[in-house]
Symmetry: D2
Subunit: 337 residues, 4 copies
């Protein structure tokens, strides 16, 4: 068992606290936030944890082995750096950092310090995504041809980041987990919103190796919540609807065939295999609980994080390219590797 | 009552024939196709119509007042031009022509000949779209901020056009009907499909005046059929789901507020009005029947087509720009006006 | 190929005419109805068929081999009897007759005359029900434990029959086809509707051998159309939703275990097998087309009807018992065999 | 603020504890259960409450003003009686008691002792049911004609009660709250389950004054969870789907007209008003939180319980009649008043 301090008890922090608290390997021993009222709440629900406004106290506390950082993205780099320098393992919210360089620095520092650098890409730990990964790994889908994700809702605006940085990390991290191909370039467009620089609705196209493409549609301006991903493989296709109560993953026995000549295309009509659909049973354990246990295993047993610094860096690279493309109204921006 | 000749009895032609046949103002008097077996079918269902392979016979027949053209897009310009030159009114399938110049020529010719040039943008005549138009015209939605449409299915490949030219005309014509703002530029990306030039999955972004944006997602590679459009207004928002049997149009009492300064954004949380949703009753008449009657009214009473040459031209302009942008992997292409 | 005469061109008759018309083994040669305007319609769509008001003409016509009867149920017995006496094969709408005795007479007469007596239980010929039957026959479901069907809509009232006789024949014929067990008794309750004798909403319970039970909920007073059947087996369960566009039959890998002692019940928690669900591909051919072909095969090749007089009689027995139980407000009425 | 002791920390008890705990007027001061492991859990989440196995300690504790009883129904009467005799207010789980007489005794005793006797009919406090009640009270529905509820799932068997006593109290309490008419008789049928006396699937018909009828379908044997209620009024109808995430209550502008003569019925076709549907915004507060506050208001301010002893008694009367009818396979059993 090891001790963890939590910095940031706003929207997401309480979920981390609750899951750390029930994990047998983790002891939630400190909670830090700048808001008095948030600290009161923290104190009420987690009386055993020390609460306070001073992050220094957590970094200096030798008993604390790990720090979870659930603050605005602009503070991630500084706080994570301090934590690593103070020899703490780090759990960092998504997106990992504001820049590619910051992410690379943290990765290097964690390596030097031999500490776990863990990025909270929660969706990777859902029963749905793990089941899809299992199907991909067993080659049930064949070659993946496309990934098409819609994540829209009537959201609260973030003041410091646009909708791409807010919502797309979920889709990008799922995509990167399922399709570990090299990402080549990003095109992003979006609602300009009277030129005030805030982007509340956006479309991303990510080109990968082997002509694989991802389309991601994110928005804070939808009257309904939609979280729907289509994944097309050469053998089967998947519809992953995260809102569906008990049919989140549908596997269609229909494959996309890829043809290289026009002549091949003429034969396409009969090539579409149309067959049964099935809905696999999913593990219903809360994703954060699974993730907290995996983090504990990384800290205690030295396991390699499924969503470590490198996964976090991949997301930041794509987000950074997306922001550049957005300024050029969709012109493709290469991803440097 | 006037006589019509139908050229093309493939996938869509039979629907035209059936609707022309039951319209009291229209007499279906000739059907033309290149396929013997299609003509046999036509003969069986419409014994009163003359059938044959020679389009010339239709153009030369003085009794025929109008010609409906339901052939591949590459033949639209030639056939429509011949029809107009032979003093026929023209019903033309979408997309109207292969190039902007062709569309402009046909418009000019129709004007000179004083004939109706009618483009079959069927969705404009559905009960759903007409109801939405009614709400827009009554300013129930307030200022429209965005239009976001998904039209995907497990489609048959078209050999002569890509998925944008096949499916997006539906969404573009609906959008243009509901939001008659000036279209400024188009960005299009898509699945490259091993470089064979066929594009079976695509994303379009259309920038309009007043910072209004449209996102359109079209695909032939989805395991499920989705036809879903979100329309965001400053007062209300709409979800239009064409697949839903009896709840096609949902009107949400939630509006998008547009803010021009960051300070305004901080107050946004409480500004989202969240209220009731309602599902208006729609007219269930078949869209093509409504459209056929409107065409008859244009021919007989001189009404102005809701979807005339100009509407067809708008669609071709956007499709043309989309094709250019697609080659530049999403770089925006201005729409010339 | 044989000739058929159709009596009754009201709500259902046109569907029969259309399907007989396209069947290569059937020639629709006469249509009879009492309404002038209906006959005009019939004439327009089926110019090759003779139309008229006199049923005698059909019975006397030696060229006509079969008669389809799509008239109100009160006329079924008389018309079918005349048809059989005139040596015609008979296609009879559901419910077969008004009384058990009438049904038995017709069965006997058909046997004596060696003619096909076919009852139109359309749902038996749907892709969905045939697929479920296939699963039952392969013992995929194990022992069937219950059948629970809801068939409600905002219907038009029938003036001559209550909702049980109007809607329940569908569910009863499906049930009888899937579960050919002996039916023991019926309990029926319903909305009394101010004592006017018309029953527009009803619930049926049918007890069968082996403690199997069926519950059937029918109504003309629902604001929405629901057609949903649950079938519970000892190995698997099925949800059959006839309204779903492409997921009509869902097969759950969850079985009902039957326990005979209380001690067994204590172990039940862990006994529920919960597993995957799958949606088999169905044959999408129109049920009536399949049924018309089967009728033709019975007439021409002497095949035994899947839904012959005996199947029709079973339904009438249950409906008759239901009416008696309804008068006794749910008291069970035995089914005599 | 008053102190409450909770007896029973099994399936439902923790929900009560959690809601009592956050209510500003209630102090959860004791938790009692027979299971050591349940008490450990209680202790962990509610360290401020005393825990133990002895109910006597709670009854004797003069500081405790109220007792919440969340134990099997067979113990309700004894525990509630002891609590009232010890001058405690009582929160009692549903169904209130095993017999009508027990319920009547408790009501009398509570009156004599001048204590609150509160029955936990949770659904009455949901935003959905309160909204429907509001519509009923405003006469939006007109006269209610029927109530039709389905509540099925793959449930755990209860060892001491059948499915009617387990699930139907929810529907009956909702029905009784919305339709406060006199209940006349009950007919109940169900799956007999090889004669072992356990009834895991059942249908109820409840006849009320004014020819109003309720149909209730409950089952532990469904592969899917359905919680759906149709309510038909003479002016509007409602579909209440408790499983729908954001469209739980749909109000259809379609009314049922009641006719008293056959002649009236002939005019029915045009009488169905078919119009818009709307989905009112609901209060999303957890029902138990609303209910806990109402209980506190009853205890502190002397408000009259919305779901007091009389409401609990009504449910027990119907359940009792249902059990009798079940033994007679559906024969109607009068409800004594």
């Amino acid at each position: 068992m090891f001790k963890i301090g939590l910095i940031g008890y706003g929207y997401w922090g309480p979920n981390l606290a609750r899951n750390f608290n029930v994990n047998p390997d983790i002891q939630l021993s400190a909670i830090c936030d700048f808001s008095e009222s948030r600290l009161e709440l923290a104190c009420r629900f987690f009386p055993q944890a020390e609460t306070g406004k001073d992050t220094e106290k957590i970094f200096k506390n030798k008993d604390i082995d790990a720090v979870a950082i659930a603050t605005p993205v602009s503070t991630h780099y500084d706080l994570a750096k301090q934590a690593l320098l103070a020899d703490k393992h780090v759990w960092l919210e998504k997106p990992m950092t504001e820049t590619v360089q910051q992410a690379e620095e943290l990765i290097e520092l964690a390596q030097k310090k031999n500490k776990v650098l863990f990025v909270d890409h929660t969706f990777v730990y859902t029963g749905a995504v793990r089941k899809i990964k299992e199907l991909v790994d067993k080659n049930e889908l064949g070659d993946i041809v496309y990934f098409d994700s819609t994540r829209v809702n009537l959201g609260l605006f973030q003041q410091d980041i646009n909708v791409i940085w807010d919502l797309a990390p979920h889709d990008i991290s799922i995509m990167d987990y399922l399709i570990p191909l090299k990402k080549l370039s990003v095109s992003a467009t979006g609602l300009k919103y009277k030129g005030n620089g805030i982007n509340p609705k956006s479309m991303l196209t990510i080109d990968m190796e082997n002509y694989v493409v991802a389309h991601i549609n994110v928005s804070w301006l939808s009257p309904v919540k939609i979280r729907q991903t289509l994944i097309g493989g050469s053998r089967k296709m998947i519809l992953y609807d995260d809102n569906h109560p008990d049919e989140k993953v549908k596997v269609y026995d229909k494959g996309v065939h890829i043809y290289e000549t026009k002549e091949d295309l003429y034969r396409l009509n009969v090539q579409y295999r149309v067959g049964d659909m099935y809905v696999p049973k999913l593990n219903n354990q809360e994703a954060l609980a699974v993730e907290a246990q995996h983090f504990a295993d990384c800290v205690i047993k030295g396991e390699k994080p499924l969503t470590g610094g490198q996964a976090g860096l991949e997301v930041v690279k794509i987000l950074t390219a997306a922001n550049q493309s957005l300024k050029q109204r969709g012109a493709p921006v290469e991803i440097t590797n």
